[in-house]
């Protein structure tokens, strides 16, 4: 194996804690005696607040506080959540309507927070909420993902949040005009509700004389600390933000929410601990949703079926407000992988964001990149069918060839390495593509429609490229590594401890990983964008190098030899002409005895110049029961190029989870708002999460081309599974129903929708 990747499938040490009920989730560790908060939410999708009277609620048993927007403003605290906006095609900025913590005069989606009640118990807070007089005069709800309709915000005429463009539109138009083949494909990317296993929650408590501790199940603590400080008019140093164990985030928990800030305010104002925990239906109504965009892809090919131009026009749902990072997702992040793995320079994308009377939409596993690849790979599949070319072959002839790397993509991404042909060849072998027709015939004999679908994806790793690692040798002989990333359940504790162990010889069970505390860690990037292992371990390597350098000089000094006579071999220091071979822990003890405490805490911050580009091929094989419309995934094969793997088992686990999220979106997860903006799928009675028996056993392996952009040669793997799954499954469904004359298929493939599609085709 490569020098910096030991590639061991070490089992997750944190699982003992999680699986035996010893996880420390936010609701487990809320302080004894914490007051409980409850949010009164709008049950109307769009309307004007005509009356909001909280007097009875304030007087109710056990109630300590009832907040409305007016109360927050009277207290002089910040009331608006900020969001990043994009630049429009005409150079202006995307719309920036206010997103207040609690509704201001108007409600714009079902689930919007209207009032915040704090009481001794949750039941008392809920009782008080029922005493609040709230009268709302209905307005028309705008629910369809299109511009126009009843206006939500004066700042956004036609409900248009932005109109973003990227690429050379004239060149694309010219190329399409002269292309031998032009294929136009509508591609819908359905909305999903994220449904982390642990819903959102937080608590806040006064700490010391004039500080506030805010604990939230997030994806990083520093943004939360900064926002709480800004809202409450405190110095950042007065706020401590922590993330305890977190039961899944998927991007949804990367953003801050009104409830966290309201809880912080309440704890500060009341001088007492206050805790808030979302229930499941509340989560489904108020967590940032994912995806929800409709695109039309246009591909141009020359007579030899080589791509000459690609254009995508997208309308993306923002929901009722700008969430923190919503505008950049289907625009800037989408563009990162716009041309995928193909040798194609003429590309153009236009994305319009629209406001609707639905819950806000933001990052969801992959954030823009699954969406872009889904559109492209659906379009490639459709083009192959329309031109009568084998879908695998059409990809192959358009791949960027290995000898073209480094390759700057049409959207400016510096692809460093890749061997897409090798990956494709391997996946075809493992998926037994050659035997597919036989399996299709066998299925047909049983009355089933069988289909095969390919997605060749590429990912662009995102998130903060910089990270810090600090290693402390503690007096009890243990070692702590402080990291700026944040586990949401991926296994960081195992990986970071093992990596440090591999490079220092310190036994992994002597190492504890410290994360998620802004008092202990000054700066960090949290989890997101498949960044964690690459950026954190790069920082760890730099820290280890500094540790070795410091200990080397110390030993040289102690032994009276030149530093060049002291070496470290990942296990022990060796000194020329001496039998002394101390381990790093032993040298640390020597340093401590010598009063060299400066050697016992070492910190380095590193920044990667470039990110990595994991890529791979997913092949799905589905079967459809035409009598019922049920789609089952019979075979699923993944060959990924993740570069070098640090822990292959955890990498595969990430792929499994990602694929299942993709299968869920494609097959079972369907969000339905009615025309009045009521969310009809606000519980698991109606929202179909994928279950174990919806998922086949998967074949997974890798064909690695190590990245040149980080010392481990690795590529991120956290989002890749989701990126590949959507198009692989959809293309397989299209393949299965092609013989029935169906030329357009759109997710999600729920039994009813598939049955309707087949019936309409038969009519």
């Amino acid at each position: 194996m490569e020098k910096f990747g030991k590639s061991q499938s070490v089992k997750r040490v944190e699982d003992i804690r999680f699986l035996t009920g010893h996880g420390r989730y936010v609701d487990d560790i809320a302080p004894d005696g914490a007051l409980r908060a409850y949010v009164l939410r709008s049950t109307i999708a769009h309307g004007v607040i005509e009356a909001l009277d909280v007097a009875d609620a304030r007087a109710a048993d056990g109630v300590h506080m009832v907040l409305t927007l007016g109360d927050l403003e009277a207290a002089g605290v910040g009331v608006a959540l900020q969001a990043t906006v994009v630049t429009n095609r005409d150079g202006t900025k995307g719309a920036e309507p206010e997103r207040p913590l609690l509704a201001r005069d108007r409600v714009r989606f079902v689930g919007e927070p209207v009032a915040f009640i704090v009481a001794d118990t949750l039941a008392q807070a809920r009782d008080a909420a029922e005493m609040i007089e709230l009268e709302i005069a209905d307005l028309e709800a705008h629910v369809v993902v299109e511009p126009g309709g009843e206006m939500l915000h004066a700042e956004a005429p036609d409900n248009l949040a932005f109109d973003f463009g990227l690429g050379d539109e004239d060149a694309v138009t010219a190329a399409l005009d002269t292309a031998a083949h032009v294929i136009k494909v509508p591609v819908d990317d359905n909305r999903v509700i994220v449904n982390s296993m642990e819903p959102r929650g937080c608590y806040a408590e006064p700490e010391g004389a004039d500080r506030l501790h805010v604990s939230v199940n997030g994806q990083g603590v520093w943004g939360t600390r900064d926002k709480v400080a800004a809202m409450l008019g405190l110095d950042k140093a007065q706020v401590r933000a922590t993330n305890p164990d977190v039961g899944g985030g998927f991007g949804m928990k990367a953003m801050d929410y009104p409830e966290t800030l309201l809880t912080a305010y309440a704890a500060r104002a009341l001088g007492r601990a206050v805790a808030w925990m979302s229930d499941r239906s509340e989560a489904m109504q108020s967590d940032n949703a994912g995806r929800d965009l409709n695109s039309v892809a246009t591909l141009g090919f020359d007579a030899d079926h080589r791509l000459v131009a690609y254009r995508v026009d997208t309308i993306a749902n923002m929901g009722a407000y700008n969430s923190e990072y919503a505008q950049p997702i289907q625009t800037e992040l989408f563009s990162k992988v716009l041309p995928g793995v193909y040798d194609l320079q003429a590309v153009y994308m236009r994305t319009r964001g629209v406001y609707t009377n639905t819950t806000q939409v933001d990052a969801y596993r992959g954030a823009g990149r699954p969406e872009a690849i889904f559109v492209l790979e659906r379009a490639m599949d459709a083009a192959a069918r329309e031109m009568g070319v084998d879908p695998f072959e059409l990809r192959r002839i358009n791949f960027i060839r290995p000898d073209q790397f480094p390759y700057t993509s049409a959207t400016g991404q510096p692809y460093d390495v890749g061997d897409f042909d090798r990956v494709l060849t391997r996946v075809m072998a493992e998926a037994k593509v050659a035997g597919f027709e036989e399996r299709r015939d066998e299925a047909a004999a049983r009355g089933k429609l069988r289909g095969l679908g390919l997605c060749y994806y590429i990912e662009s790793i995102l998130g903060d490229p910089a990270e810090t690692a600090r290693v402390d040798f503690e007096e009890d002989g243990r070692v702590a590594i402080y990291v700026g990333t944040q586990s949401n359940g991926q296994g960081h504790e195992t990986v970071f401890a093992q990596f440090l162990a591999d490079h220092t010889g310190i036994p992994a069970d002597r190492i504890r990983v410290v994360q998620g505390d802004s008092d202990l860690i000054a700066k960090g990037g949290g989890t997101g964008g498949s960044r964690s292992v690459t950026v954190q371990n790069t920082a760890t390597l730099a820290t280890v190098a500094a540790m070795v350098e410091g200990f080397t000089a110390f030993l040289a000094d102690a032994e009276g030899v030149p530093a060049s006579d002291v070496g470290f071999d990942d296990e022990r220091f060796r000194i020329a002409g001496s039998n002394l071979t101390p381990t790093m822990l032993e040298v640390a003890d020597m340093a401590r005895a010598a009063g060299r405490d400066d050697l016992l805490s070492v910190s380095k911050r590193t920044k990667l110049d470039n990110r990595s580009f994991p890529n791979g091929a997913h092949v799905a094989e589905v079967e459809i029961d035409p009598e019922t419309g049920v789609v089952t995934v019979e075979r699923y094969t993944v060959i990924d190029d993740f570069g070098n793997l640090i822990n292959p088992m955890l990498a595969e686990g990430q792929v499994h989870g990602g694929v299942v999220q993709g299968l869920g979106q494609a097959l079972t997860e369907r969000v339905v708002y009615d025309e009045d903006g009521q969310l009809l799928t606000a519980s698991f009675m109606d929202y179909g999460m994928p279950r174990a028996d919806d998922v086949p056993m998967m074949y997974f392996d890798t064909e690695a081309t190590p990245s040149l952009y980080n010392p481990m040669g690795m590529k991120g793997c956290g989002e890749a599974g989701t990126v590949g799954a959507l198009a692989a499954v959809t293309n397989a469904v299209q393949d299965a129903v092609w013989s029935r004359g169906i030329r357009e298929v759109q997710m999600p493939f729920t039994p009813h929708r598939v049955w309707q599609m087949l019936r309409q085709a038969a009519a």
Binding site: A123, T628, T681, G688, T750, P751, H752
Partner: protein, 262 residues
């Protein structure tokens, strides 16, 4: 959940007495009622648990050869012990998930008569007798529409007696999210004819598909259904399936139930 009083009587008589109080509500396995309470959609002043009454639990055979199930018997027990009636045991074995099957009861399911529940199909297709603390009710008289039954206020299902068919099968097409029956069909072939009961589909709740019964009584094979048509009129239409879809599935599921009946 609002506050309520809770009692756990140990005899049917005590339970009936406790249910005489205004706003008292019977609690079976709680698989519908508890979620309803948690959502604050119901506000009973008192819950009378039927789970501590020994005479309402268990599976046995009557002298007439019926499988008799105590009203407070959980699905898992029926699945394990109603071996004399494999179609019934199979139906019970596939209700919900293990947690539901260990809590939910046959009496609770029949008293609630959810249009998507499985047990109503078994009771109706079997021609079961619903035994209460005051009388016996034939299944054909018992079901009176969605969430509506012949039960009087405070009346308790103490036992259900299922005649055992020669062959039977319950075929369920699950709603993908809840995994309740989107359409469930119980086919039961007796010496004197076939009974077919359909759950999940109709706006009137569980019903007998009499055309299929006639066709299958003449010839017990899926082919016998070929010329029958099911109308989507009066079928439930929601985001999981239109009335037409449910009507279509009624025929498909009936055919599959016949093919699998043993």
């Amino acid at each position: 959940m609002y506050e309520f009083e809770m009692t756990r009587p140990t005899t049917i008589a005590d339970a009936a007495k406790a249910l005489g109080d205004e706003d008292a509500q019977a609690l079976g396995g709680g698989q519908t009622l508890i979620p309803t309470l948690k959502q604050r959609l119901a506000m009973p002043s008192a819950l009378v648990s039927l789970g501590a009454i020994p005479e309402m639990k268990g599976v046995c055979m009557s002298d007439a050869g019926e499988v008799c199930v105590g009203g407070a018997t959980p699905h898992a027990v029926v699945a394990a012990e109603a071996t004399a009636y494999p179609g019934l045991a199979g139906l019970a074995a596939h209700i919900g998930d293990p947690a539901v099957r260990n809590r939910g009861t046959v009496g609770g399911s029949l008293a609630n008569n959810d249009p998507s529940a499985c047990y109503p199909a078994a009771a109706l297709a079997s021609g079961a007798t619903i035994v209460t603390n005051t009388r016996e009710i034939a299944a054909d008289d018992y079901f009176q529409g969605m969430f509506s039954t012949a039960l009087e206020d405070g009346e308790i299902i103490t036992e259900v007696r299922f005649p055992v068919p020669e062959v039977s099968h319950y075929e369920k097409f699950v709603q993908p999210a809840s995994r309740f029956a989107l359409v469930g069909v119980m086919v039961a072939k007796f010496a004197d004819g076939v009974r077919v009961a359909v759950t999940g589909a109709s706006e009137d709740g569980v019903y007998r598909w009499t055309e299929a019964e006639a066709a299958l009584s003449a010839s017990f094979s899926a082919d016998a259904l070929a010329d029958l048509a099911v109308s989507g009129d009066g079928m439930i239409s929601d985001l999981h399936g239109s009335g037409d879809y449910r009507a279509h599935l009624v025929k498909v599921m009936t055919g599959r139930a016949v093919a699998k009946a043993a």
